[in-house]
Symmetry: C2
Subunit: 117 residues, 2 copies
């Protein structure tokens, strides 16, 4: 990456349980949500790449950032979604997390924070 981006970063691994099934099948809503969450954290979006496994099936997707990436993988049949929020530099990944948590309406979520770089 360019010299203006420092390698030190924060990586949040977020597991949501008890999410309404319809949301976990909706790639368009997830893509919009993640782009909004990235912007809320102060990130620069390079592109979004999403794949739907079929009707009423899961979604896998990634938002490439100038400052690393966000990703999602969903299992509607289990009400489960795994998100990653990996951002280098002085961004605010917890602001992205707050947006995701509000939208997911999960009964439970686990967050693990890992320092990278």
């Amino acid at each position: 990456m360019s010299a203006s981006f420092e390698p030190h970063g924060t990586h949040l691994l977020v597991d949501f349980h008890g999410v309404p099934q319809a949301l976990l099948c909706d790639g368009e809503s997830l893509s919009t949500l993640m782009r909004d969450a990235a912007l809320a954290a102060g990130a620069t979006v390079l592109g979004t790449h999403f794949h739907a496994f079929g009707l009423r099936a899961g979604i896998t997707g990634v938002v490439l950032l100038a400052e690393s990436h966000m990703s999602v993988h969903t299992w509607p049949e289990s009400g489960y979604a795994a998100f990653d929020i990996f951002m280098c530099g002085p961004l605010k990944p917890r602001k992205a997390l707050a947006l995701l948590a509000r939208a997911m309406g999960a009964s439970r979520h686990d967050v693990r924070e890992i320092q990278r770089g």
Copy 2:
């Protein structure tokens, strides 16, 4: 994801230090390496998406898998690369890691293994 993919997965966060600079600027080689590493682990590749920040600058990229994803972000000026290997189901993410480690020729690497799902 389809019912045939269980949500439980292994997520390896791998930080390589002391990597030769030329390799960290070479998106084509990194893309091929990561695709090969995914296949070695038994994964199904859905697509690869890579971005180069410029000549002799870093790479950010992702390999979308039917079983989650692999990602890379490089800082050539620091000799540093951050890889993720996230695979659900009965795959062998350590086989992907072995391929990456051999190719990177790093002076040091740190691996953190997180259970998801």
